[in-house]
Point group: C2
Chain length 666, copies 2
């Protein structure tokens, strides 16, 4: 074969490869770094071929209080200058430059000064030691515990790189439903191996711990936090960890929640438990992230419990404890109001926990871009200190001066080639990182960046697909649970609808607990004449939420039980509005398919077909949701479907028989 | 309980009962006749309470050649007078009066003169002796062979009454795929019992016979129609039958078709076979209906075979043979051109065979009102003797003077409470009878009658539901096989789509045989440069069908193989038109649901819910059809879906795995 033909063949092959993309590269260009490189070498590798860059690392390199992660990008004598107080800051600057190069180009005279809004920007992995992932929809766990520490998967460094590129600087390796085994010496040596890979990318490791570890692992008689032996056991365990991982981040604890052990088992408070652990970590600079996700079956309103249980503990936590609070008061629903603990605990650092993995938004089967959900929460005004006291301000240190500030997202990452199952679920990992860095970024801007870096810089692709992304979360809300409905998912796996579910072992694990539909109406009365949950919010929110005519319609049935013929602002009945919202969700899902088809020639074939197939299922399952919910609710409302709504195509009895063979972990 | 309360309770109960209707009453009022009544007594019972009626039966009661079934309705001295030449004519007059009373009222001065267009108006039951029904979707066979002749189900007389009320005067009791056992003496005594029940209602019985009966039942060595022993066996069998049933109608024969035996097995022609049987029946006044539905796997075009095989036999049949020809040249498809035998055999009486049971139009799961299909065929102009030579004229005796004239419909009746499975399938039984009586009636007029008699005389109900009925067959065509596509059904049961089916035991039992889709285009080239089937039609039809720019678009792919980018009259490509027709079908099915819901308060609950459930499935399955066909055809066209089309929600591979557990009989 002569050389010319070989070259032509190679070109053809390259073109073919360019048309097939498994999504494993995420939003990043080809990796030029190598195992074993230091942070600054990585930074240099990341900008290689992009620009002539000089790095300036010095304690005083940046004006003001930019902190260790900040950086500036300027031009001097024709060269790009990235200035930072630390190598990690320089690395973040390098990724910024790389992003600019991939999404519109580097300005001629850049004048960029950046520092993150949150000190700690964390992923929480709900990964189990057996390789399964709770609420994981992208394959099994990345962590190959069997092979560690001897064998290091190349994906560990790719994972660190991807996170660093969007500013994430910490990872909790294991499930909050934690097994004590994680703290065994052999597992700690595996953790050390991962930490060593992540360190050059500025990423610290953290662990979820089981509060009963002193008993279960240490052989003690008790795990009582006020027991000296217990405290000593934890202190020794912390010492052991820090000997292996000197920059270990700390612990996440799910205690006295959904069957997990905790200090209340010994008559102690959450503060007692958290502080005991915090004291074990404090000498090493570690922190405790204590989860506020607690509820028990006896309460009259699950949405009130975290607040009721923690509000009295404000001021009782040690300085290195952060209370980790889910964004909403129930559980990562498609839409919730913000958790009223935000703004309400002035003397305790609080951090938001988001769920990036789509437990309640269609798993990795459905397209739901979550930046609108994340920003909706972060920008909610708590009114804790008057107007402007947003959830973001209440958690990023600006409102109450807490430090360190932190934010966490439950990861959606697994062993799938494309990391997240659905190609568009990568955008949720991406936008979480970007918002953790800067919560003032817009959903639109982040989607734009991500699309250009991940798929194509062609406006003809970006604009329609971005519009699809931006409307996707609202579409999911519409066809799953509009107008403030929540938690009417199929039992266990939370993928499909099961609004009729009422035989749960606990009432608050049934759907009817949440929607309370009956002939008189629908919705959970959390007003002052109901459960009183509205009273957890500051004025004027409590008054707004308390009054159905003032309450935002997208939260109406969260706070109110209203008759089916109640009139909404558009003059139509609640029933008609409910029907038309479900219908709108179905139509939106159908529209996504058209949008995606319209950009077929602008996307590689592999990802095109993959996304096309998932959008089909999404449109199909949107109809399932609409039919299941409306046919069921109609048995209570007794009202006809409005003219604008397509009629159900399924029978309720048939839908009730559906049992998907899905677990809550993979 | 005092009497007033009892009366109130009874009234309430009656109201409740009125709200529940199992559809068993069909379009008829409560029956006032009794077992054993003669024809005229029945006629009197049917008009009891409706009007003061006097019957006048006399050979010369009617002017002109009204025939034995004709009648006149007039008023004289304040009384309604029904005049007829026979008691059966009077009975038909009584049902006419009853119909008027239920659908708008009896005119003050009626001046009605009616006589049927066809002499023989027959149902063909494809019922097997084991109680199953081939292509039966309304439960098992009405005929309780095990119990006959000793036990007579009350439904036998109800069946006769329903048929007589719409003018049907004959019934072929058993499947054309006939077992010889039907002619055993014990079964003939059962046939006699049924004939005795039907006789007062003017209904004759006929039987399908197996051509090999002399061998299989008689123990002869041959069934050769030219063998004297065979002829003698049949003559003796006819004598035996007529001794039991003096007005027995005759035989239907499916011979040398789909594995059935026939005269060709002995080197004889269809005419040889038919005439031999005809001579056995002639002494008794019986007839032979010889089916022209023949095809063999070696032909280049199944649509040509009946024509090719029978056209040369014109003039060779005895006077009491009628050739029974399916309406289209292939097989009861949602849309076919008329069979070119109609008009082409001047010296042979031909009768149309329609299929009332919806083998190819959604079984009894889907609403498809067939009067538009029946009239489309009957009013097709064959141009046999110039303009106006319609299929109706070519078969009702007016064009060629043949006698007797006949028409048959394959019944959709079974043991289901409502007789036909789908409540609206009753309308197909009804409209077949009405059109057999008078093929000039309109689909609209018949639907109007049927709806008022069956459901409600309320215009608010009739008008929207009638519009739905009138568009329903076209909707089915659209979402199953628009633009002249045909026979791309799932193998065996013919309910769902299977356009990819190609591994049939015979090529003409595969879907790809009929649609011939490939990268070059789609459709069956039956033009003069293709199979030449267009040449079977008279001018100008043969020229019209031969030219794609003249060919009616709804038959385009029946006659032509055209490139995907061929432009139709609307300027859009063939591919886009195909897509948009499928989409239109889906939307029509959805619209039916809305129409039905809109009349909820005007229908009894039982039938409302039953029809609502079926319409749901219809809309769902319309999407299945659209997705299966378009995704499959797209693998050939390689063209994108047009903007106006919703995107598929199923994956082709997943659809290909569907195997419905349906047989071709119940």
């Amino acid at each position: 074969m002569n050389r010319r033909i070989t070259a032509a063949l190679l070109l053809a092959l390259a073109a073919l490869c360019a048309r097939a993309d498994d999504g494993s590269g995420l939003w990043l260009p080809a990796d030029r770094a190598r195992d074993g490189m230091g942070t600054l070498d990585i930074a240099r590798a990341e900008v290689e071929g992009i620009a002539d860059v000089v790095f300036r690392i010095a304690a005083g390199a940046l004006p003001g209080n930019a902190g260790p992660d900040g950086y500036a990008i300027t031009r001097q004598d024709g060269r790009i200058v990235i200035s930072a107080a630390s190598p990690v800051g320089a690395l973040y600057g390098a990724y910024h430059l790389q992003r600019l190069a991939r999404t519109g180009g580097i300005p001629v005279e850049p004048d960029i000064r950046e520092s993150p809004r949150y000190d700690l920007r964390l992923l929480n992995h709900w990964d189990n030691l057996d390789g399964t992932v709770e609420r994981g929809y992208a394959g099994h766990s990345l962590w190959q515990w069997d092979e560690l520490p001897g064998t290091l998967s190349p994906r560990y460094r790719m994972y660190a790189r991807a996170n660093a590129s969007i500013g994430i600087n910490g990872t909790v390796l294991n499930n909050v439903n934690a097994t004590p085994q994680t703290l065994r010496p052999d597992y700690l040596s595996k953790v050390k191996a991962l930490a060593d890979v992540f360190r050059p990318y500025g990423i610290k490791v953290y662990l979820s711990v089981n509060f009963s570890s002193p008993v279960l692992l240490g052989g003690l008689d008790t795990s009582d936090p006020l027991d000296d032996g217990v405290a000593a056991w934890w202190a020794a365990k912390a010492d052991e960890i820090y000997r292996l991982v000197p920059d270990f981040g700390g612990f996440v604890v799910k205690a006295n929640s959904e069957g997990q052990p905790g200090p209340q088992d010994y008559g102690r408070t959450h503060a007692d438990g958290a502080n005991m652990l915090a004291r074990a970590l404090a000498p090493h600079g570690g922190i405790v992230m204590w989860r506020a996700f607690v509820y028990d079956p006896d309460s009259d309103d699950r949405a009130k419990q975290a607040y009721d249980e923690f509000i009295g503990l404000d001021g009782l936590f040690d300085g290195n404890v952060i209370l980790q609070v889910k964004n909403g008061p129930v559980d990562f629903q498609p839409r919730e109001p913000f958790n009223p603990l935000f703004g309400a605990m002035e003397r305790t650092p609080l951090m938001v926990e988001f769920q990036i993995t789509q437990e309640y938004l269609g798993h990795s089967e459905q397209l739901a871009y979550l930046a609108p959900l994340f920003t909706e929460c972060l920008r909610s005004d708590t009114y804790a200190r008057g107007r402007g006291s947003t959830v973001a301000a209440a958690t990023d240190g600006t409102l109450f001066g807490h430090s360190p500030s932190a934010i966490a997202g439950v990861a959606n990452i697994g062993l799938d080639d494309n990391w997240t199952g659905h190609h568009f679920a990568q955008a949720n990992w991406y936008c979480f990182g970007r918002l953790a860095w800067d919560h003032t970024l817009t959903s639109d801007g982040i989607a734009d960046e991500w699309l250009r870096a991940t798929f194509s810089d062609d406006d003809g692709f970006v604009e329609p697909v971005k519009r699809m992304m931006l409307s996707s979360r609202e579409a999911v809300v519409d066809y799953m649970m509009p107008l403030g409905l929540h938690h009417i998912f199929a039992e266990g796996h939370h993928y499909g609808p099961e609004p009729w579910y009422e035989r749960a072992v606990r009432p608050d694990w049934s759907s009817v607990y949440y929607h309370r539909a009956g002939s008189a109406g629908i919705g959970f009365d959390r007003t002052s004449s109901g459960s009183g949950a509205t009273g957890h919010y500051f004025s004027p929110l409590r008054e707004i939420y308390d009054d159905p005519s003032l309450c935002p319609e997208n939260l109406l049935l969260w706070f109110h039980h209203l008759p089916w013929d109640y009139r909404l602002a558009n003059g139509l009945t609640l029933w008609d509005n409910l029907c038309l919202r479900y219908q709108a969700g179905v139509e939106a899902a159908r529209e996504f398919q058209k949008v995606w088809d319209s950009v077929e020639d602008k996307v590689d074939r592999q990802r095109f077909l993959h996304v096309q197939e998932r959008l089909r299922r999404q449109a199909r399952d949107a109809v399932w949701w609409r039919d299941a919910c409306l046919l069921y609710f109609q048995t209570h409302s007794g009202m006809p479907f409005p003219p604008g709504m397509e009629r159900p195509v399924y029978d309720l009895d048939e839908l009730k028989r559906i049992r998907l063979d899905l677990k809550h972990h993979n």
